[in-house]
Amino acid sequence: MKKQLFSLYLLFFCQVLYGQTDTSFFFTRVKQDSSKLKLNMDAVYNRPFLQMGKLPVSLGGYLEANSSYFSTDGISDGLSFQLPRLTMFMSASIRQRIKFMTEIEFEEGGREINIEFAALDLEFNPLFNLRGGVIMNPIGSFNQNHDGPKWEFVSRPVSSTTIIPSTWSNVGFGVFGKYSRKDWVWAYEAYLSNGFDDNIINNNQNRTWFPASKANGDRFEESFNGVPLKTVKMAVKHRKVAEIGLSWMGGVYNKFKDDGIILDKKRQLNFIALDINSTILKDTYLNGEWVWAYVDVPDTYIQQFGNRQQGGFLDIVQPIKKGKMLGWSESVLNVALRLEYADYNVGNFQELGLRIADHMYALVPAISFRPSAQTVIRANYRYERHTDLLRNPASQTAGFQFGFSTYF
């Protein structure tokens, strides 16, 4: 009996080992259908999934790991290694035209665990579908299309993580739809969700800082002030030209009323974002996003907390070799360049009449190697200049980053 059990175990173990070397044994990789007109807003489903047999459940995820060496004004903390995120996603077709998808992210080695997306889609018509749950607010392009393996640079764009606090997701409901004809596709999304809180002007960054609201886990249980955050995006794409997206997110960030007592007026915030991506000159890929943010900061508060921010990035990616390299048959070697800028306080000092600075820009030349479409090994040099509020001599940061990101 023991021998039989042992044999059975051995057989299973061998199959598991085999399964790990050949995913097709247990799972089949669901290939992405590139014939469809995919947009940034489709990114949540536009991922390589693994499917087991004919089960209506697909699994997937991605991992990012990197090392970096940076120096600011000549002072360096040396070489360090990071595991910024391990993300797992799962989708299920519950019934025809009813889908569920979730994305759970483990950040900084598991110190933070976030449900970035967990939504049910009810499909009625290509032009009209319902989505509810934890949704990623469709502001700009990066917030929804942020998977590490899709990018040729180790760090995420600064404006997309510090002005738009990507990944910015909230509990909410909304509608989305798409209309396509020949090479054209037009799509929209509109959601109501919980939103920001007054930590955006009450934080240890000493500036208006939208990511501060991400620390408020209560936003998955209740709205900070009872006023929903509204997010609307429209995008249009021509297969041979470009995709352009225009999005708006707006709401109230302060607690203007508590226990029925009026505390303050409703203070608005608004984001407007423009995103564009295109492939030019046959295979040069351009991808950019620009965001403007407006916040009603009380006049009697300190001007370090600005009422306007703006910033964006432009990525240029040029494949320089495609084909068989180092034994991988469909590999690609790219050179890339990112230009990015973020101004955290657009305006003038009341006391000085001079322009407030508090901005940064960065230049990031990179090289990336993709042994397959799902995996990217990348290295970049990064040069940043940060100018403080008063426009004092800028601090300079520069260094190298090396890492990989892969779907699994």
Binding site: F70, S71, T300, M325, L326, L390, A398
Partner: protein, 398 residues
């Protein structure tokens, strides 16, 4: 091709690793920056310096950590970027005192105006009838040396009756000590009051006194030393630990003194001679010395701050009608000139000089001197253009 690619990748990686420190930003020269510790600190003292550095420059106060409710700035570093001088953005407004009998507006929010407030609160305004003055935040460097100048040495520089007939008198600001301050062993009190030395009017006795006041009056942070809330006037729980305050004091005590640049430049040397010839040294004393300190690196050192730490009558042009301690409204403590040339690095590339930043250049600042400094100012005006340029270059080298 693949082998070439592999070799290329290995070589590239090797180059990057080797060159990391070569193609990243260089450390600025020590004489170009104000921050950094004094030489000779022990490892334990360096650790404490770093703890104070973090509290001073990185700790941003929020509503939850005690900011306000009314305040001027959200952190120490907001007023002293890079440990240098501040600008009009963080200028402090003080009101309510016109003579040595004390501040008559303490019950109305004096002595300092908190002109900002967290959302939902209303900032203070200057009460009707109160005179006021604006104080630009000073630089922090070398304060540990200044704190250790003995009362005996300060009194030796004073000349209240102008016995030497040079037109410069100079008197210390005597004030009462707050309960949390212990007088230094070598203090020389007068009628129960002690020589104060920090601040535009020399109204703070020590760096602890100055730090506690700044947390309270500038940021609205109560402490065990100053437990009253600036908004309500009521005693509240401490919003900062004694340890943090003591670390910040230690940081201020052990920040290095500014290092003079271009000392061998002939124009700088000529300018220094002109500085002496004009009589500027009558108040801006070049060299002082420290007394004994528990911090060995500060003990018995000679240093060059260009101040006498005394109050001088600067004339009606600089009389704002407000004062502190025993100073008269036209009297100001001689500000140290060290670090003057680096001021634009913390003032957005510009100069905001004199007590309230009204002078936008060193020349303007000299011309605004009056009272006891009037004669030196007049001599400056009579200098040839080249001689004036020499003097300015010398002052910028400090």
């Amino acid at each position: 091709m693949n082998r070439r690619l592999l070799i290329f990748a290995i070589i590239l990686e090797a180059i990057l690793i080797v060159s990391c420190e070569r193609i990243t930003p260089r450390v600025p020269a020590d004489d170009q920056i104000l921050d950094g510790p004094i030489d000779g600190l022990s490892s334990a003292e360096k650790t404490r310096f770093l703890a104070g550095d973090v509290a001073f420059n990185d700790e941003i106060f929020t509503r939850e950590t005690g900011l306000g409710s009314v305040f001027v700035a959200t952190s120490c570093g907001s007023c002293h970027a890079g440990d240098g001088k501040g600008t009009l953005f963080t200028t402090l407004t003080r009101f309510g005192q016109t003579d040595e009998t004390g501040n008559k507006f303490l019950h109305l929010g004096g002595p300092q105006l908190q002109n900002r407030a967290i959302p939902g609160y209303t900032p203070e305004s200057i009460p009707a009838g109160a005179t006021f003055s604006r104080f630009t935040p000073p630089s922090n460097t070398g304060l540990g040396f200044i704190e250790l100048v003995s009362d005996e040495d300060i009194l030796a520089m004073a000349d209240p009756s102008d016995l030497d007939k040079d037109g410069i008198s100079g008197v210390p600001n005597y004030g009462a000590l707050p309960s949390f301050i212990n007088a230094l062993p070598n203090a020389i009190p007068k009628n129960g009051k002690y020589i104060h030395r920090f601040g535009k009017k020399a109204a703070a006795y020590s760096l602890l006194h100055q730090t506690v006041n700044a947390y309270s009056q500038d940021i609205g942070i109560s402490s065990a030393f100053a437990p009253k809330d600036v908004y309500s006037g009521q005693e509240i729980d401490p919003e900062i630990s004694n340890l943090t305050i003591n670390n910040v004091v230690f940081y201020l005590q052990t920040l290095k003194a500014p290092i003079q640049r271009d000392q061998n430049d002939t124009q700088v040397q000529r300018g220094k001679q002109t500085f002496i010839d004009l009589g500027c040294q009558g108040c801006h004393k070049q060299t002082l010395k420290t007394s004994l300190s528990p911090i060995a690196a500060l003990s018995n050192k000679t240093f060059h701050p260009y101040t006498d730490l005394l109050l001088h009558d600067m004339g009606s042009g600089l009389d704002d009608g407000y004062t502190e301690g025993s100073a008269k409204t036209s009297e100001w403590r001689t500000p140290p000139l060290w670090g003057l040339g680096l001021s634009p690095n913390s003032q957005g590339g510009q100069y905001f000089l004199m007590h309230d930043g009204r002078a936008r250049s060193i020349e303007q600042a000299i011309q605004m001197h009056g009272g006891e400094a009037g004669a030196s100012r007049d001599r400056f005006k009579k200098l040839a253009q080249g001689e004036q340029a020499d003097l300015i270059k010398f002052l910028k080298s400090l």
